[in-house]
Amino acid sequence: MTTLNINGENHDVDVDPATPLLWVIREQIGLTGTKFGCGIAQCGACTIHLDGSPIRSCVTPVSAAVGMEIRTIEGISSAEAGLHPVQQAWIDEQVPQCGYCQSGQVMSAVALLESNPAPNDSDIDAAMSGNICRCGTYSRIRKGIKRASKVINAAAADREAING
């Protein structure tokens, strides 16, 4: 039995430790927002966070995630806090088309903004080039990240003003 902490909750799963996290998350835990695209870390559809860093869950064995915080697309928004600024920006810019890659895109974008709240174009290229979108929504993703960045930074400035 392996214990995994996913979106703040502990789950006991009985799987081969070599099983990629992707399949455990989808099949054992039943969180299907994380998608299978290629199985070889080439497309980014399966992107999740491991202790805050974006990783490709299709090539990450369960054994590598024990004791770490796993976050999936389902853990990005909450009933209390509402949508994450990245998700709201995705709606405002009408980013998704087929939508299949977008969980992974959102996860990569959230991780980028958490480590770099004001990314420039080359930061965005570096952080997002591991995520393929066959519908070609790249230009809207770029706009979405910039929009979310503004919202996040404005909120941070507000907090500072209140605290300061």
Binding site: G37, I40, I91, Q94, P96, C98, Y100, A126, M128, C135
Partner: protein, 743 residues
């Protein structure tokens, strides 16, 4: 209207373009009740299969098309809501069930195979009018960029307007006032003189008993309140938080997982399977030999795939194992030569006498182009969950043709179509791939072997190696130029024609034209690929016209502009693209600019591409797109489709190459079938012209002109003329920029 009577079916159906309704009415038995349960809640009134009004005044549009990212659910709902004057905030959308009773038009398999023209546009008679709607809607096929031009224009709008008309009539009866004094707005009916108003739902029951107008008056563009606006897409919120359900997300109690390996060489079969190596692997349930493929069923997908990879499988040989890609191109060239030598050229289009004009010409320009096979590679690999129980087959998948798939499964398993139930989910990309039912039939055949539900998932490798491929092709041109460099004759021969027929035709005023082709069959399965034949012919024709402009010493935009003098709609589109691109502005060193224009699916698109060459690599930096689809129902959706078509087309032009090695597909995943990524994606500007001409499609027309615009830009930057795709196969390092070579 608690339940549908046969009479209600006929009246609602026939009069409102009641395609579906009509079909149900002529079927024996109690099918009607079954349909009612599928699309209506207990207290709903159904006018026809496109619209239902609930007691809470919400209006549900029932859309017979699959949502694969093109926003069609939203756009079709907009068209209906606008004509009906419904409240957009209370609009809902439901995808029509894949049910014979819902879509009761004899399913023509030949149609699916592509041998019937589609769409056959407006016919004037009432019968013809509705027949056209029936064909478009009842086939339930999403493809050919037809959803808005056909279903939307002929179905949703008519249904919305007719529904509005009977609602007003019912209100007029209830209030004892003339209907002409009533108006409708945002789901309510108003009578100004008596200051009365009431929601649609109040009159729904009475309206359902009235005769729907056969040809309701449709709004003119100045009356539109929803069409032509940028409403937010209905499907987007579920696609940012992981809740959107795709075919691969289906989940059933007791479900197992299947991985599959089909014979790598098309058309061969399984010779033997040795499963001794997987006997001790955990979670394995069953190995199934389907004859042309081997399947492992396990408790989890990863277990199934791991075991499958361990299996020792031998395949039969059928002679195709020796075929290499170069053999295929050699065969094409030989068949083209042979057609000419034997006098067996198949005529595609002829005007004037091109052969005589050519022999009398001052100057002849010749070129030959090639394109490779292409895979669709949607982000969601093929998958289907199937469960065979109680003599029924239930299927959960994503398909562009739900009813057709159900029919194919019924045929393959020799079942009654009524016992095959298919539930369509969101499609993680379609692009034509999900019009082919192979994966669904496979899932049904696997489910027939076991008592539990099985989710079949194709690995990416399986998806890439068992696609239905855009054809590889060769196209040869000869043109005559007069002393001013004007083309007087255009002769084009290519290999392997599919669809649409007009894909190789040119809009330019060239007096003498002869376009013909040769057949040259291969063992590689063919499939509709975004924009179908347009995807190759725009590359051929718009590259060659660029070559003629160069030979004539003319600017490639001006040359096209002048040759489009007799086609003012084209001319406006190319002029707009050139103007917005600032066509004559100087570019930095190692940059180039190219232009192309092509009409497909009723929509004219001009593209200008600006590229930069960095260390021999081509980076598209900026794309300017001008599009005339008659009228953009959802302008932001139109722009999104152009962006999508451009990236899809650029990806293919720069990188994509499915090649045959020892009879099988050599590529297997995104490492060797490369995709355009964020860092390579250009800025895209789209400019829309609402010309008022007949409505065209949006999902495909963005793709055809981008490849020629790209290679024309490379020529502009480097002087190197790329005549074979993809671009990546050409060495662009150490070019003497400005010289004019040919690749």
């Amino acid at each position: 209207m608690g339940k549908w009577t046969r009479r209600a079916f006929i009246s609602a159906g026939v009069l409102a373009g009641g395609v579906v309704v009509f079909g149900v009415a002529i079927r024996p038995g109690n099918r009607a009740d079954k349909v009612r349960k599928m699309i209506a809640g207990e207290d709903d009134s159904i006018f026809n299969v496109w619209v239902k009004i609930s007691p809470d005044n919400s209006v549900t549009a029932i859309v017979p098309h699959a949502e694969m990212g093109q926003g069609v659910h939203t756009t079709l709902a907009m068209m209906l809501a606008d004509e009906m004057d419904a409240d957009w905030q209370q609009m809902k959308m439901l995808e029509a069930p894949a049910n014979k009773e819902y879509a009761n038009y004899a399913l023509a398999k030949g149609f699916i195979a592509g041998d019937v023209d589609f769409p056959s546009f407006l016919v004037d008679t009432v019968d013809g009018f509705f027949l056209t709607v029936m064909k478009a809607m009842n086939m339930q096929i999403t493809g050919g960029s037809t959803s808005v031009p056909t279903t939307g224009q002929l179905g949703m709008r008519v249904a919305g307007a007719a529904t509005r008309a009977v609602l007003l009539e019912a209100a007029a009866n209830a209030w004892s006032v003339p209907a002409s004094e009533l108006s409708a707005r945002k789901g309510e009916i108003f009578h100004q003189a008596s200051s009365r108003s009431a929601p649609f739902a109040e009159f729904a029951l009475q309206a359902a008993a009235l005769s729907l107008p056969v040809k309701p008056r449709l709004k003119t563009p100045d009356e539109y309140t929803i069409m032509g606006t940028d409403v937010l897409r209905l499907d987007v919120p579920s696609k940012v938080d992981g809740t959107a359900e795709f075919g691969i997300d289906a989940s059933l109690p007791g479900m197992k997982y299947a991985a599959v390996k089909a014979a790598p060489v098309f058309g061969t079969t399984v010779k033997s399977v040795d499963d001794s190596s997987i006997q001790d692997m955990p979670g394995i349930r069953k190995v199934v030999n389907l004859g042309d493929a081997v399947v492992v069923i396990a408790d989890g997908y990863w277990q199934a795939q791991q075991a499958l990879d361990q299996l020792k499988i031998e395949f039969e040989q059928n002679g195709s194992e020796t075929i290499e890609q170069s053999d295929i191109f050699r065969q094409f060239a030989a068949d083209m030569d042979k057609a000419t030598v034997d006098g067996e050229e198949i005529l595609d289009f002829e005007q004037g006498d091109a052969i005589s004009a050519l022999s009398a010409a001052d100057r002849i320009v010749e070129a030959e182009y090639r394109v490779p096979y292409l895979s669709h590679a949607p982000m969601e690999p093929m998958n289907c969950t199937a469960w065979m129980h109680d003599n029924i087959c239930e299927l959960w998948t994503g398909t562009q043709n739900p009813l057709g798939f159900a029919a194919e499964v019924a045929d393959a398993l020799e079942m009654d179509l009524a016992n095959v139930l298919l539930y369509n989910a969101y499609l993680g990309g379609g692009f034509g791939r999900r019009a082919f039912p192979d994966y669904t039939i496979q899932a049904a055949r696997i489910a027939a072997e076991v008592p539990y539900p099985v989710k079949l998932i194709w690995s990416r490798e399986e998806d890439m190696r068992h696609d239905h491929y855009r054809q590889a092709s060769i196209s040869r041109f000869r043109a005559a130029l007069d002393s001013n460099g004007q083309p007087t004759a255009w002769i084009n021969q290519y290999v392997d024609k599919h669809d649409p027929k007009e894909a190789p035709y040119i809009p330019y005023a060239i007096a003498h034209q002869y376009i013909h082709y040769a057949e040259s069959r291969t063992h590689v399965p063919w499939g509709f690929w975004r924009s179908v034949d347009h995807s190759l012919h725009a590359f051929f024709t718009e590259s060659f016209i660029d070559e003629l402009a160069f030979e004539a010493g003319r600017d490639p935009y001006q040359y096209r502009h002048d040759l489009l003098a007799g086609a003012p709609r084209f001319q406006k589109v190319i002029d707009l693209a050139a103007e917005k691109a600032n066509w004559n502005a100087t570019l930095p060193e190692n940059w180039g600019r190219g232009i192309a224009i092509h009409k497909s699916f009723g929509t004219i698109v001009a593209q200008v591409v600006e590229i930069e060459i960095v260390a021999g690599r081509v980076f598209p930096r900026r794309t300017i797109c001008a599009v005339d689809a008659g009228f953009a129902m959802h302008p932001d959706g139109m722009k999104a489709q152009m962006e999508s078509g451009i990236v899809y087309g650029l990806t293919a032009a720069l990188y994509s190459d499915i090649s045959i090695r020892r009879g099988a597909v050599a590529q297997s995943n995104f490492h060797d079938y490369q995709m355009l990524r964020m860092n390579e994606s250009p800025e895209i500007e789209t400019y829309i012209i609402n010309s008022g001409e007949k409505i065209g499609g949006a999902g495909e027309p963005g793709t055809p002109a981008i490849a020629p615009a790209l290679v024309n830009a490379i020529f502009n930057a480097t002087g190197k003329r790329i005549r074979e795709l993809p671009v990546k196969m050409h060495d662009l390092t150490d070019l003497d920029m400005g010289s004019k070579d040919v690749a």
